[in-house]
Symmetry: C2
């Protein structure tokens, strides 16, 4: 059968495909920016596109009728995952279906660390072989280095051995040896001891961050980031680990990591061969997919990881172009849902050496909380879900241009004041905006502590539509999409569910240690999302306990900081492996109190309002404190 040509607008990208292929597959194939959260399962409804000629595609499906409004259907809106062209056609991708140029936070806390990298260089001039002394080139190299530097038990990388004879003679026996741990991985002509670089990578479900580090100083020379190129294959970890073509997911993430590096080396003039080690962090699913480890059981109860330990593999095996003999060190994981990124956060925040109790929190689709001190550390994973990333929220989106990121609601007029990313006209709201919204709606009396929209409010901003109450955040006249941007009862509930999952984690961890809020010395909030949220709003709605705001420290991409620390310090790498064993994973689901705590956490901020005295006081001042205490289980 003849191929069909699809032109995606506004890019004008033309993609050739076989009849029977969906437009989502075509967009992925063509590298067209089109959101999909459910990976083509027709459940997320995010891959809306507009088909100009309805006769060029299959008829609308049952799933689409459920997901799309009548107005949308009339305008030619379809779900790309359900639409299969039968002849050439043009497809429009609306702005709301774009992944967008996402805010990609790469900065993380700088944790002071002694410079002791695994990679070292030594300049040598060695004796040439003679008939009296014709020992092997490898023995000559190793003995020279041992004699000059007192290094014991040196090995030589096998790929270097293959070329060693030629290199030694081409370099006239004067060269710089590159040593990684106890392995000589390369030799270079003349004295290159001033040039040693490493590459630290944080593989996030949403974004990749890469850091080029000068290992003679420990300083970040340049950093860059990229959307995780796996996103078109599924937005969340569950969609990714269920994807049938794991090799492809591995390939695209490695390409992405290499692409960031390309920018970094172009910007800095560092050569790829001068990068001798790469360290990697990521959640357990990202970790397994990156390494080509069968990930399916990470998604099935009881969710064991395949491997916990630190993994070292040659960069060449993953086609990531650093020095060809350089290793990739992938930090260890803790559990199926507490990954190498959490190990990085623990390293960076140094909670493992605190006298007082501290918490490290990394909010995401899965939210990890590590609580403890130098005596003991417990980790939990909370199934907070993708609501903060915009999924299952009618006007939800990720932190991209045009996303509402801050909101204040005037308690008198109920009008919303907001700011958007890049100051673009609003097209939706991202996580930090939604958290503000819930807090502000509560303070304004639009919702109560049960998260229910006050149906008795008579106000143009609060209305019922198709049997569902909603708050109009942005009227169509101000909106970038010429539509009202609203926050519905269902959206509020989604956010409350997400926060309930996280709060339950805190609650059960506190119970284990028998702690009160005031016992916490510091709460470290890690991750890109954590860097953008309004600490007060987040605390008000009970994402975390009512800890003194001054004790809450935003640490940015601390996972990336952990990866960098392992490049800069061999001790940090060893410590990471130890931490992956000593940090104990606590499975929330098996705590007998879990169900009760979770239900109580569905109250904003918590069924027992006394645990939030500041917040209670605020509501009282505003006259919004509930007359009857909320139900408590």
């Amino acid at each position: 059968m003849a191929k069909i040509i699809v032109a995606f607008q506004p890019e004008g990208k033309r993609v050739q495909l076989e009849p029977g292929t969906t437009l989502l597959s075509a967009a992925i194939k063509g590298g067209v920016d089109l959101t999909s959260i459910c990976s083509g399962q027709a459940t997320c409804g995010k891959c809306r596109i507009i088909v100009e000629d309805p006769t060029a595609v299959n008829e609308i499906t049952e799933e689409e009728v459920q997901r799309l409004s009548q107005a949308e259907i009339e305008k030619g809106v379809r779900l790309a995952c359900c639409t299969k062209p039968n002849s050439d056609l043009t497809v429009k991708i609306p702005e709301t279906s774009r992944t967008g140029k996402q805010q990609l936070q790469v900065e993380g806390i700088e944790t002071p660390i002694q410079l002791e990298p695994n990679v070292k260089k030594y300049y040598l001039e060695i004796e040439i072989p003679t008939l009296e002394d014709a020992k092997s080139d490898v023995d000559r190299l190793v003995e020279s280095l041992q004699n000059a530097q007192g290094l014991p038990d040196l090995q030589v990388n096998f790929n270097l051995i293959k070329e060693l004879a030629k290199k030694l003679r081409d370099y006239d026996w004067k060269f710089t040896a590159v040593v990684w741990k106890n392995q000589i991985i390369d030799i270079e002509p003349a004295d290159t001891t001033s040039r040693i670089f490493g590459y630290a990578v944080d593989i996030g479900t949403t974004k990749l961050a890469g850091y080029l580090i000068d290992l003679t100083t420990g300083i970040v020379v340049s950093a860059g980031s990229l959307m995780n190129p796996q996103i078109p294959y599924g937005e969340d970890v569950i969609a990714r680990l269920n994807h049938p073509d794991q090799n492809k997911l591995q390939e695209v993430v490695c390409e992405g990591i290499d692409k960031i590096l390309e920018e970094l080396v172009e910007k800095t003039g560092v050569k790829r061969e001068e990068i001798y080690e790469m360290t990697v962090v990521g959640n357990t699913v990202m970790h397994h997919i990156f390494l080509g480890i069968y990930p399916l059981y990470l998604g099935r109860s009881p969710y064991p990881p395949v491997v916990r330990n630190t993994i070292v593999i040659p960069a060449r095996d993953l086609k990531i172009t650093i020095n060809p003999n350089g290793p990739i060190v992938v930090l260890p994981t803790i559990a199926g849902f507490v990954g190498a990124d959490t190990v990085g956060v623990v390293l960076a925040t140094e909670v493992y050496k605190k006298d007082e109790m501290c918490v490290a929190l990394d909010i995401g689709t899965n939210t990890e909380i590590v609580l403890g001190n130098k005596e003991k550390l417990l980790a939990v994973s909370c199934a907070s879900g993708p609501a903060f990333e915009g999924a299952h929220i009618q006007f939800g989106m990720r932190a991209a241009s045009g996303a509402i990121e801050k909101v204040e609601i005037d308690p008198e007029t109920l009008e919303a004041k907001y700011t958007t990313i890049d100051n673009e006209p609003p097209i939706g709201m991202c996580g930090s905006g939604m958290i503000d919204l819930v807090a502000e709606m509560l303070k304004a009396g639009i919702i109560d502590v049960g998260g229910i929209i006050n149906q008795n409010l008579v106000h143009p901003r609060v209305r019922e539509k198709d049997g569902l109450f909603e708050y109009v955040v942005v009227p169509a006249s101000e909106s970038g999409t010429q539509e009202d941007i609203t926050f519905t009862q269902r959206d509020v509930s989604q956010i409350v569910l997400a926060k309930a999952a996280i709060h339950s984690g805190f609650k059960l961890l506190f119970k284990r240690f028998n702690l009160k809020n005031e016992d916490i010395q510091t709460l470290y909030v890690a991750g890109a999302f954590g860097s953008h949220i309004n600490k007060e709003s987040a605390r008000m709605i009970g994402i975390f306990p009512e800890i003194d705001l001054n004790k809450i420290i935003v640490v940015g991409n601390a996972a990336g900081t952990g990866a960098r620390m392992c490049l800069v310090s061999e001790k940090a790498e060893i410590l990471a492996e130890q931490l992956s064993k000593t940090v104990q994973y606590l499975e929330l689901g098996i705590d007998p109190d879990f169900q009760k705590v979770f239900l109580n956490s569905n109250i904003i901020p918590y069924a027992d309002l006394d645990e939030f005295p500041e917040m209670s006081q605020k509501l009282k001042e505003l006259g919004k404190y509930p007359e009857n205490p909320p139900p408590k289980f």
Copy 2:
């Protein structure tokens, strides 16, 4: 330009080639059996072929005119390496240019050794993960095995990790773990502990030998061999290491090793996945080429090897199909011309644990001699050259069908009685035949102890041709080539030179230890060639000192035995690495006596005839003892 078709007869093999390609390249490309020693340098003159239509090829070259007789040129004989076809043609390969179906000795001494293989299997039934115990699959596997068997510090092969989650569940948590050293390399469904195999390989310059070993008993299940497929690329190690396409040489030898294995598994029903380790020996050039190590400097003074140590690489990296996670263990070398095969011989002969002085001798293009006992071992390499393999000998050939392998000369009639390999009509002579010839010619008075043909002999068997004296071994009437098969003055000198090189090695080793012939408890003669020579002839012409014939023990392919021992015993493998360091290499060229000893060794058996009393007595009995003592330096 159009392709040219060459048909090689008698096979009838048709090869397509570009104009400008030599017939030697075409033969190699087509897998046609055609000898070449110099690897296409037009110096060995061995790749003689017959072109039927002289207009179909380039004109005869200067090099060919030098190498070919007028009669040959008239018959259309050309050197394949100098001949380039310009149109389709038929080429005949005479029997004398065939590598032939060579005698391939695989049997070696059986050295008793305790069964302690590196590969072990353990059957396990392990607890399934639960929410209470969701440790990683790797930790679960390792801990189960540690608890059941008390194995410490276990690692899991990374390629197994990739598939571990699926395998554990597919096997319902009941499986056999395959452990190599401290690494779990595979798991298999149910109980397979009775099936453990290994593959030992000896890469000879001329032949490959492979041994399939049952590692539950240590017994050789089956053995096979093959001509080294590198031969068409150059017959000796120097031609091989100088070959421009090292990747090709590596590829064909790996294919050859895999081909032997194919026969062994077909014959025995053992599955390739049940072979968990492969061990390899070979001389240093074979070792380096097999591993893809740049070999060029092995051929340049001072001839250092690139690497001495034991090398372990995954079999999959060399595309040799044993268990995909099984390692290849390549035994260590000692020096540039004392390779892993010598380490194998030392292991097999156990000279390293003798109280008395012993010698291990492996005769070849390079002849290695190891002398010593449990206190000290010295190794030398003697540049004996390829004469014993037939190179530079007019009617020399390797030990293939039709080669004269045994000769007796009637001292009265000077007629030769001979036997040939496979009892085929004689077409040339192999090494053992030539050694007999020199000894018999000496006893018959055809040559003197200086190796000079007696020009005063009036006899139809001893004649002058083109200014060169020669002995007619086989008259044309008996010969498989319808030509006289002769042994010329130049041939005698080649054999004497070869034996002088070896004898010098003995002499200088004896000097180092201050030994007399009677101090030697045992002389082990290893290798296929050593298994075929007549010990008495070899001793008579001075290949080795006059040691009691009962003390000379032929041990066959002892190098292969060494490789097998390293499969069967982890201690043997460790010992091999130790021996490669403790056996001291003695460079003959720098011994101040070398030149003198070498010149004296050019006398048959040695300038000092008193060192060979038995042989002297024999000559006296035959009336051939020299009247004047030979010159001595």
